[in-house]
């Protein structure tokens, strides 16, 4: 991993802990997964399922589907390099599919959501939820979608660019 990925992963670990996802419980569930499952997540159907999973976690009207695919690719890259979260996506995929007699991806939206609600207490669920949250909400395409410009210091901040331009508040007596 390069330096940027390393620092982002550290931040992510902190983020997971803030969200009440104890790394201990996450670790236990991950022990059950194997390298074989990790490899299998790289096939396209699994990636499509996890992209859909990410979309249902944090739905955004008008956000192109490919952003969720990129988010999952980032999560996969992060977890592949980290023994603590390796294989978490395949665990998720396997568990989602095992909840009924056909693939979770084939269910309609209501069915998919029902399975997610049933599994939301599982450690893998919280682990992926926080990784997706992080990758999605720091993703440049998502920032573009919501008109968030990110770094401002190179533009001299907002001192002359609207830090106090709000004009719709009621007049104060």
């Amino acid at each position: 991993m390069n330096d940027k990925q390393t620092t982002r992963r550290r931040f992510l670990v902190a983020a997971l802990t803030f969200s009440g996802v104890a790394s201990g419980t996450l670790g236990i569930s991950l022990l059950r997964t194997s390298a074989a499952w990790a490899a299998s997540t790289e096939d396209s159907e699994d990636l499509a399922a996890m992209g859909r999973f990410a979309q249902l976690l944090f739905p955004h009207e008008g956000l192109p589907d490919n952003v969720y695919g990129e988010v999952i690719a980032e999560v996969l890259a992060t977890t592949a390099a980290d023994p603590a979260t390796q294989g978490i996506l395949s665990t998720a995929e396997q568990t989602l599919d095992a909840a009924q007699d056909r693939s979770w991806l084939e269910l309609d939206a209501a069915g998919q959501l029902a399975v997610m609600q049933k599994l939301e207490g599982e450690a893998f669920f919280a682990g992926i939820r926080e990784m997706v949250r992080f990758q999605l909400y720091y993703h440049p395409q998502f920032w573009k979608h919501i008109d968030y410009p990110g770094s401002s210091k190179e533009h001299g901040g907002y001192l002359h660019r609207g830090f106090d331009d709000i004009d719709w508040l009621p007049e104060q007596s």
Partner: protein
């Protein structure tokens, strides 16, 4: 003596930590001609290292060593948490110094005491601290500029009848002063100020101390143990350098300012046959009474754009709820403060998943936010201790952090969330979320000042009850939390402590 100091030089005061407490104490002592060696676990950034990228900055300055239990959000860098703090600088109120007398003891696990000093005694030091830090609205400094998010808070506050709302009391220069520029409203204050408009010891106290010729900063040095002699006086500090090699710096006196986790750890880890429970711990109180403040956060989607990412991250405070009004169903009070968040924060604070969460980042340009900080009664069961077997890379016992919300803090949080809801809904908010904000950045109480040695660890000067040449110089000495953000009080106490140390040295009693 002249810096750099020899390890064998036992005339120096060793200060552990270079943040609000340690950086300030170091400079105050050096200005008086007292020789100081400051040990800082982190490295020294420059303003050019500061980028508007929170994960990258967390990598550069966050404290990532292993801890077990509740999360804290601290810094390992020159400047400590003054790199990350928001710059909000209210004072602790008069009645909050008399917490036990004012509130009474709340329940069996609560360990409230009164401070062994009064607001009157601290007032001159508050004024010195405000001048040093350049607090807006103090002296001849104007109040801070009103950001969009502040204006939303102010308008909502007026609608629901609040009277005491101000954009002052920020240690961020509204205009250029004392060699630092005025705020450019960059945002990202929590990831280091890229221009140095926000007060941090990195570019104020530390270089000022260096100019005196009485100060040496040793970066990337992890203090692991404080040694003492047969009489029980401390004699030096053992530290690991960047390569992991151990050295002992001899000392005339030692001041510990590593924030609550490291301050607890080094005292507890310096146990000996003379002090079997750790240094300064004959009372058993080191690591106990760990307080964080009641925290809540609230976000709202407003009917029209706010663009709360534009400008300083926190600007302004509502003071109406800061008083002790037991009819609200809790002891003590809280302050409501305007706060902004990046897109990830707007989702992470809300927590969970689904449309009820993603509605906040989706409507990012329309989101406004506030945060409340309030009195958090100390509890014997909230504590920092050392793991019996787990060791970190330095071979040090891993700290175990146990914190639980006091019932009083939960009642106060519910009240603050309800008031935040009313505030935003009075302006037509279409979505609202309010709740716990688990950040762990206000940390107090593990070596608290007490009148009776049995009740705490340090006396009214932050001097260990057990060892007269050992001091604690960070938020660990707070006897109770008050409602105010702690940094201003940490700085005021450090200035006062420097006066005390210098006086004792002049009297040859230290």
């Amino acid at each position: 003596m002249a810096e750099p100091y020899k390890l064998s030089d036992s005339s120096v005061v060793v200060v552990i930590g270079s943040g609000a407490g340690g950086g300030t104490l170091s400079n105050e002592l050096a200005q008086k001609g007292i020789d100081v060696v400051c040990l800082e676990a982190g490295s020294r950034l420059t303003l050019a290292d500061v980028v508007n990228d929170p994960p990258a900055m967390d990598g550069k300055m966050g404290w990532h060593d292993k801890r077990i239990g509740d999360m804290v959000w601290l810094c390992k860098t020159v400047g400590g948490t003054t790199m990350r703090w928001s710059g909000v600088t209210p004072r602790i109120q008069e009645h909050e110094f008399r917490a036990l007398s004012t509130y009474g003891q709340l329940d069996e696990d609560t360990t409230l005491i009164d401070w062994p000093l009064t607001l009157d005694e601290l007032l001159p030091y508050y004024e010195k601290a405000e001048d040093k830090m350049g607090v807006s609205g103090s002296g001849d400094i104007p109040p801070s500029a009103e950001t969009n998010n502040y204006k939303v808070m102010q308008a909502g506050a007026a609608r629901i009848g609040y009277k005491e709302v101000s954009s002052a009391r920020m240690a961020i220069n509204p205009v250029a002063r004392a060699g630092r520029p005025g705020c450019q409203q960059i945002g990202f204050c929590h990831s280091g100020c890229a221009i140095g408009a926000k007060w941090s010891t990195l570019y104020t106290e530390i270089p000022a101390a260096e100019l005196t010729g009485h100060f040496e900063l040793r970066t990337n040095t992890m203090a692991v143990r404080i040694n003492h002699d047969d009489k029980g006086r401390v004699t030096g500090v053992v530290y690991a350098d960047a390569d992991g090699s151990l050295h002992e710096q001899k000392a005339r006196a030692v001041a510990v300012a590593g924030n609550v986790v490291e301050t607890s750890r080094i005292l507890l880890n310096s146990d000996s046959s003379k002090f079997p429970h750790g240094l300064a711990n004959s009372s058993g109180q080191v690591g106990r009474n760990y307080m964080r403040h009641m925290f809540s956060a609230a976000l709202a989607v407003m009917p029209r754009p706010v663009n709360f990412h534009r400008g300083a991250r926190q600007t302004g405070v509502i003071y109406d709820e800061q008083y002790h009004k037991p009819e609200r169903g809790f002891a003590g009070g809280y302050e409501i403060q305007a706060i902004s968040a990046d897109p990830w924060n707007t989702s992470a604070w809300v927590g969970g998943w689904g449309p009820g969460n993603s509605v906040f980042p989706q409507n990012y340009t329309h989101v406004a936010g506030v945060f409340s900080t309030g009195e958090d009664p100390p509890q014997a069961s909230s504590r920092i201790s050392l793991h019996p077997t787990e060791r970190d890379v330095h071979g040090l016992p891993v700290p175990v952090i146990e914190y639980r919300d006091h019932a009083n803090s939960i009642a106060m949080r519910n009240h603050s969330v309800e008031m935040s809801r009313r505030l935003f809904e009075s302006l037509g908010a279409t979505e609202f979320w309010g709740g716990d904000a688990p950040v762990g950045c206000h940390n107090m109480g593990v070596a608290r000042m007490s009148t009776k040695p049995d009740d705490g660890v340090t006396n009214r000067w932050g001097q260990a009850h057990d060892i007269d040449n050992l001091f604690v110089s960070d938020g660990s000495t707070f006897s109770s939390s008050g409602a105010a953000n702690p940094t201003l009080t940490i700085v005021a106490l450090a200035i006062r402590q420097a006066d005390h140390i210098a006086e004792r040295m002049t009297q040859k009693s230290l």
